[in-house]
Structures are given as C-alpha cells and as structure tokens.
C-alpha cells in the first residue's frame, strides 16, 4: 500500500513548482512595497471605504447568486438523478457543453439579449409586454453569475443525489413520512456534502469575478475582483493587487475549511 503513495511524487513536484512557489511570489509582493520593504499596507488597503464597499458588495452579490444557483439546481439535480442512466450522462454533458463557446463571447451574448433595445425587449414589445431594464444593474451581474456558474452547482448535487439509496427513501415513505418530511429528514441531510461543495464551487468564482461585472454591470458596479484587476492592469500596482488577493484568499481558505468539515469523504465532487 505504501508504494502507492509514491505515485503522488510527480504531482507533488509539480504542485510545489507551479502552485506553491508562485503563491509565495504573490505573498512576497503582497507584503512588500515598491522599494522591496516589508509592509502590511497592501493588506490593510482593504480597509479603505471604497475597497471595503466593493468587498461587501461582492460578498452580497455572490451570496445571492449562490443561493439562486442552489434553489435552481436542487430540483434539477433531483430530476437528473431520477432519470434513466442512459439519459443522465448526456444530460449532464449538456451542462458542460456551453463551455465550448468562449466565456467572453457567451457573456457578451447576454448583453445583446438584455440591452434596452436587445433581443428580449424586442420580443416583449412585439407582444406588447412591458420591457425589462436590468442591464447595467446588479441584477444583470447576478444573472451572469448564475448563468456561468450553475453547472458547478448542478454537477456535485447530482452526484450525491444519485448515490442516495432509493430504498432508504421508500422505507421512510412506508413508515408514514410525508414527502416534505422525507426530504427534510432523509434526502437533504444525505445531500449535504454536495450542497457544501456546490456552494464553494459557485461562491468563490463569483466572489473573484471581474469580467461579468464589467460586461453586464456596465462597469458602474465595482466588485473586489475589479479592484484587484485594476491594480494589476490599469494602475500597474502589483503590490496592492497582491495584498488584496491575499485578503480574498482568506475567504477561499474559509470555504475550503467548510468543505473539509462537511464533506469529509469528498462525496460532493464535481463528477
């Protein structure tokens, strides 16, 4: 059994070289100023009114999107897990397939759909329905997040739900539990690992995104991802950018910790 551990060797080398060392570079930049002196200033930059507000807004929007994703994906995953095996693999792939179109192109397509004179509003006005004005508002950003990250919620949920022994559910029903009660006491608790892993997989990328808020929010809404991106690309201040990334990493660590706690066996994987 011990020899099997050796198989981790190549990956370990790889991970140290290309994951940990680059991370150390970020740490170095985050904790120094442009003269190379040690400082906490870059990390404390999160405390300024603007940055803190961006962080709070990011947290809020990504929480809402995560919740919507969960509410949309749960029934969907339940339906998928009830389907015949021959259908599900195809259905699951249907959710990965959109990624074959470039991410930027897909998000720009939403712009074409949502704009004031966009496709959706033209269809609505054709039927004399009131138009919807959500482009350049936080709602459009939430829509973009939900759209882009929904598959990351569906897949882990589907995985745990399809593994639940159907006999357990039948037994509960036989013993007189209502469907709601069965769901509350049996299905949901058993699916918790998938729920937690889905939440992480949606929440973290939603928290750090900047492309979605740029394209669908009209750049009027500044998220923490935009602030960091700006430091790297416009301000060219890599030190502050790295410092703020380190702050974000706290949230990433937190969600990793949560996943580890509730999903001990990694059941809620993506696949």
């Amino acid at each position: 059994m011990n020899k099997r551990k050796l198989l981790t060797g190549p990956y370990l080398v790889w991970a140290v070289a290309f994951i940990l060392i680059p991370l150390a570079v970020v740490l170095y930049y985050g904790l120094t100023n442009s003269d190379g002196q040690f400082t906490f200033e870059n990390i404390l930059a999160i405390g300024t009114v603007e940055n803190f507000k961006a962080l709070c807004l990011s947290l809020l929007l990504s929480l809402i999107s995560t919740l919507i994703c969960l509410l949309l994906a749960y029934p969907l995953a339940m339906m998928l897990s009830d389907m015949k095996v021959s259908q599900t693999s195809f259905m699951v792939l249907l959710f990965i397939l959109p990624m074959w179109m470039n991410f930027l192109l897909r998000t720009m397509a939403w712009q074409t759909l949502l704009e004031k004179n966009g496709v959706i509003n033209q269809i609505l006005s054709f039927f004399h329905l009131p138009s919807i004005q959500i482009i350049n508002t936080p709602w459009a950003i939430i829509l973009g997040m939900v759209y882009n990250f929904l598959p990351f919620m569906v897949l882990p949920l589907y995985n745990v739900l399809s593994k639940i022994d159907k006999d357990v559910i039948l037994a509960a029903r036989d013993l007189g539990a209502t469907p709601v009660y069965t769901f509350r006491k049996i299905i949901f608790p058993l699916s918790l690992p998938g729920v937690i892993s889905g939440i992480t997989m949606v929440f973290v990328p939603a928290l750090t995104t900047f492309v979605i808020s740029d394209l669908l929010g009209g750049s009027k809404i500044l998220l923490i991802g935009n602030v960091i991106d700006r430091q790297f690309q416009q301000g060219s201040n890599w030190h502050v950018g790295s410092g703020l990334s380190l702050v974000l990493m706290i949230f990433i660590l937190l969600s990793m910790f949560l996943t580890g706690k509730y999903d001990k066996n990694g059941e809620g994987g993506m696949f």
Binding site: W14, T208, G235
Partner: protein
C-alpha cells in the same frame, strides 16, 4: 401533470443555458459586423474563416494545447489521486487543499505569478510555458473527478486479485482501473474544456507568435470581435454536439434502471471516440500546417508587438517578401497589459506600438532604444505637426515614430439629441439620464471632467483633481455604463444618446448608423498618438528600423489606414486617398483650429498615477 411540470422546468433551465449560444450562432450569419444590428443573412464569415491563416493557426494551437495539457494532467492527476487515496487523513487534507488553490485562486494572480516564475527561471515564454501553466490548472479537475470514483471502488476486489496471484500492476489495470475509468475520462474532458476556455493565464504565459483562440478574441475586443469568431465558435460547438449525440445514440441499451457497472463502463469507452476523433483531426491539421510553414525558415527575424487588429495583415506579407525578414506578430489589448511584459524583459520584442503617455513612461524607465534616423528616411512623410505634438512625451523625437493618431470626442445620436452639441457640459445634463456612455479608463474619464473645468488633462493639482472627481461622482447617476470598446456597438444599436468615443471609431459607427455625429468639444480634448518604438533589449534593431521605415511608406500607410480606419499621421498617404469625403474628413483630419485646446497625455509618475486611481476608485464605488 407532474411530468409536464418537470419537463417545463428542465426546458426553462436549458433555455437559460443555451439562449446566449443561440444568439452567437445567429450572429455568425449576420452580414453586419456590429453585434447590435441585423444586416441580413450571410455565409461569408464561414468562407473567410477558412481563408484566415491566423485564426486557423490559433485554432490549431488551442486544440493541441488543450489536448496535450489534458493528457498530461490526466496522467499526473490520476497517479496522484491513487497516491492521495492511500494517505492518512491529515496528509490527504493538505494535498486536497493545495489542489484547490488553482481552481479557487483569481486567474490574474495565477497568471502573473506563473509569468514571474518563468522569468525568474529564465524560461523563454512560448508554447511550452502555456502548456506548463495549463497542465497546472487542469490537474485539479482530474484529481477532483478521479478521487470520488476511487473512494467507491471496493478495496477487497483489488486484494482478492492479488491473492489469486495477480501482480500489483496487473491487478490495478484489471480491477481498479475499469472502475475509475469514468472518472478519468470526465476529468480529461473537464481539463480539455477548461484549457480551451482559458484566456488570462494564457495571456501572461504565452510568448511571441503563439496565439490561442481566446487570446485572439481578447486582442480583437478593442476593435470589435470579428464575425469569423462567431462562425468558428458555432462550428466548434456544433461539432462537439454532433459527436455527443452520435456517441449517445450508438449503443442501444436496455431501458432498465439497474445497469451493471461493466455495462456502464462499456458505454464510457464509447466516449473515448471524442478524443480519438480530435487526435486524428489534430494530427492531420498539424501536418498540413507545418508543411505550409516549412518554407518560412529564413535567418533574419523580427518580433512585432502591436494592438489587436491594428495592421493590415497583407502589409506584413509584403514586408516579408520584400526584405526576406520573417515576422513574428503579437497582439495586446491595452497599454497596461503590454507594459509588464516589456518591463520584465520576458520577451525581446523588436518593435512595439504603445500610446503617448506609455512611451514617456518607457523612456523614463529606460526601456527604449534611440532610433537611428538614417535607417528611417521615410520619416519625412509624417506630418510635421504630429512630430511636434510627439515632443510632449518624446522630447527631441528620439524614440518614436507616429503610426496612428486621433482625438477623443462626443458621439451623439441626432434622433435623441436635438440641441447642438459642442461642450462636455451636455454629459452632465439631467435630460440624458441613463443615456450617456463614459469611457471606462481613469485618464479618459478624468480628461473629460478636467477639460470641462478648463484644466489641463495632465493636471496634478490636488484641488483640480478633487473637483474633477466630485464632478464625476455627480455625473455617475446619469451614466448608463462605463465602457471601453462597447461604446461602438451600443451607439450603433441606439442604446444611448451620447457617448465618449475615439475618433477612429466614429467613421465606422456612422457607416453603420447614419444618425450618429461626432464632435470635439470646444473646451478641448485629448489628441492621442500611437507610435512605433524599439525596446532596449531588441535583438534585431536594424530589422526593426527597416520595418518602421516600411510602415511609413505612403502606399503601406494607406493600406493600413483603410484597414484600421484610424487616422494616419502620414501626409503623403493622406494625399493618396481617393474618396474626397474621407480625405477631407474633419473627424479624421481635424484642422489646427479644432485642436487648439487639445493636449496629449503624459506620464505623470507613480505618485500621481496612484492618486488618480484612488479618486477613480472613489467614483466607481459610489
């Protein structure tokens, strides 16, 4: 009833997932280049797609990188998963934590940190570095998909196989491997898909001449996505969809719910057909591609680093033919994304085309080489007034040769704006609430506010800047969106009444939507100049000068002007323009009178830059 409800729900979600894709497919048949306007049905983008060598080679690179990195990641990741699953819980947690980092970390941080690592190790950026980075962020997806399958395998069967005399390797491939195969395959597919979709990490780790579809698309963002890209995406998408349907319909399985695992595995094996077909396509394409480029191995070289869509590709071919120098052509989309690559000496570019203020910054940081004017006699074709204007960022005209020039002004829709537009003030008028588009860059936005108050656009006066920031905050509720390139499509699609725009875009928008007018406000504006410069670490300086001289030739400048549609400072080329409306266009070639209050951006130093950014953050977060 329940079934109908379920179907409707399923249908709705799928509609949400596929609505944008449908939009892109429709756009690929759109005769108009604009995203917001339907110009009739055409198949011409599909035709021109296959004639476009740059796109085809980017497609080839994308697929080969995705394939190789997915294969490597699958091998490394599967081996690692088997090892990790044999570990104690604590070690396991640490490993899974490390594995999660690339998935969860912000891409730009991963990209820049990998670039810094490669530079520190003196690895030349290129195909290999992209591959290494892609493998890095692909491995986690493989591990995350193999681990759950490993956990489901029954350890006793493996032990039983060994008891019956199978060696560990034989036992693994006969007993364990078939069980985890579905996980390995979906990990491979996920890795392939992720590699295909990545832009940011690729951008920072790629070298000259290597482009993937994503980097090509992003480089095009500034000048508008070419419809060929929609066509290509459609083709890619449809190909995969058809493959999937074929694979899924081929093995007819009995419709019982308890399919045994071996049958399920057999089905998974059919999925191998996807990669198999891809490999065949790639090898075929690769041979064809390398045969085509076989003749291109001459000794003299030149690496050009330019804005996306900022040159007529034909002029590059002509240059290669006339001089025998083989050109490697690279694109970027903003000055700020170009700067770190030059500053870090990641790649020794020979010719770069930055904007005014960035040239000054590069001069101040000693990144540029002085041009030997004896090698650039065609400089006489450049309008003297632009050489004078250049002195504001390049004193003595030592380092730069103007390539494209223009102004920034207001584009307005005459059907929505009745009054005459001649002042920046109109962008603060309540009447146009939600109908104003501002530029989403610090300096451009502050230029508008500073000029409106009669201040210099290079102001470093704290009071002037604070006033400008307050004005921008006051203006924010009226602004529909802060945009860069999007202003063009939004104005064409009648999305807004007024937009701040670069003059080069104005001509194009007017052709697509005749109701649009362009004006340089009376308070003055920004005259920008993008010029050719030679970085200090250039390896082929003389070839670079030959190239610059070639670009200043009137016929070449004219070709580029017609392709880019941005104004040329080349007065000899302007005289060659046949259409008098274009030759005498006030938008493209403004009089000195129009430009009397205009200035060119200068680099203001790190401290002032930071202050600008701080104020801009205040505006944006309001």
């Amino acid at each position: 009833m329940k079934k109908i409800l379920r179907r409707t729900y399923f249908g709705l979600i799928l509609f949400l997932m596929y609505a944008p894709i449908l939009t892109l497919i429709v756009l690929s048949f759109n005769a108009s280049k604009s995203r917001t306007k339907w110009g009739g049905f055409t198949l011409s983008w599909y035709v021109s797609l296959f004639q476009d060598e740059a796109i085809m080679s980017a497609l080839y690179n994308t697929l080969i990188i995705a394939l190789v990195s997915a294969v490597l990641a699958t091998l490394l990741g599967t081996a690692a998963s088997i090892g990790i699953s044999a570990m104690k819980p604590r070690a396991k947690t640490i490993f899974m934590g490390i594995t999660n980092i690339p998935i969860l970390n912000s891409e730009i941080v991963t990209g820049i940190s990998l670039m810094l690592l490669f530079i520190a190790c003196r690895v030349t950026l290129g195909f290999t570095t992209i591959l290494l980075s892609h493998v890095t962020f692909c491995i986690p997806y493989v591990i995350l998909s193999v681990m759950p399958k490993l956990r489901q395998t029954d350890k006793s069967t493996y032990e039983a196989a060994q008891d019956l005399g199978a060696g560990p390797i034989y036992a693994f491939f006969k007993v364990v491997f078939p069980d985890i195969l579905p996980g390995v395959i979906s990990g491979f597919l996920m890795a392939f898909t992720m590699s295909l979709d990545d832009f940011i990490i690729t951008h920072f780790t790629k070298g000259p001449g290597v482009d993937t579809l994503s980097t090509k698309i992003y480089a095009e963002v500034r000048k508008g996505i070419r419809p060929e890209m929609y066509a290509l995406s459609t083709l890619l998408f449809v190909t995969v969809l058809v493959l999937l349907i074929l694979i899924n319909s081929s093995p007819k399985e009995p419709a019982d719910t308890k399919v045994t695992s071996s049958r399920r595995n057999r089905k998974q094996v059919f999925r191998l057909a996807v990669p198999a077909v891809l490999v065949i396509l790639l090898i075929g394409g690769g041979i064809g591609y390398s045969l085509k480029n076989a003749g291109n191995a001459s000794g003299e070289k030149l690496i050009v680093y330019n804005w996306g869509e900022y040159i007529d590709p034909e002029t590059l071919d002509m240059f290669e033919k006339e001089t025998g120098i083989s050109v490697t052509y690279e694109e970027y989309e903003t000055n700020e994304i170009m700067y770190p690559k030059i500053q870090s000496h990641a790649i020794a570019y020979d010719v770069v085309c930055p904007s005014d203020y960035m040239i000054q910054r590069m001069i101040e940081n000693d990144l540029l080489a002085e041009i030997n004017w004896d090698n650039v006699p065609n400089i006489q074709n450049i309008d003297q007034s632009y050489m004078e204007q250049s002195e504001s960022f390049d004193p003595g005209n030592k380092y730069s040769v103007p390539y494209c020039v223009g102004t920034v002004g207001i584009l307005y829709n005459t059907t929505m704006v009745d009054e005459p537009v001649d002042s920046w003030d109109i962008l603060w008028d309540d009447k146009y609430k939600d109908n104003i588009l501002m530029q989403d860059s610090v300096r451009d936005a502050f230029m508008v506010a500073l000029k409106r108050n009669g201040d210099s656009l290079n102001s470093v006066d704290v009071n002037e800047l604070n006033q400008a920031a307050n004005d921008l905050i006051e203006q924010k509720p009226l602004v529909q969106a802060y945009v860069v390139d999007q202003v063009r499509d939004k104005m064409i699609g009648n999305e807004a009444a007024l937009g701040v725009i670069y003059s080069g875009e104005a001509g194009y928008t007017q052709r697509e939507n005749p109701n649009l007018e362009y004006v340089i406000p009376k308070e003055g504006s920004n005259v920008w100049i993008d010029s050719w410069v030679i970085p200090k670490n250039a390896q082929n300086k003389e070839n670079a000068e030959k190239f610059i001289n070639f670009m200043c030739r009137p016929d070449i400048a004219l070709m580029n002007f017609e392709y880019i549609t941005y104004s040329t400072p080349n007065k000899a080329a302007r005289e060659l323009i046949e259409d008098p409306d274009v030759r005498n266009s006030k938008i493209l070639f403004p009089d000195q009178e129009d430009l009397k209050n205009c200035e060119t951006f200068q680099y203001l130093g790190e401290e002032a830059d930071n202050y600008y950014n701080e104020l801009w953050n205040k505006v944006k977060s309001r």
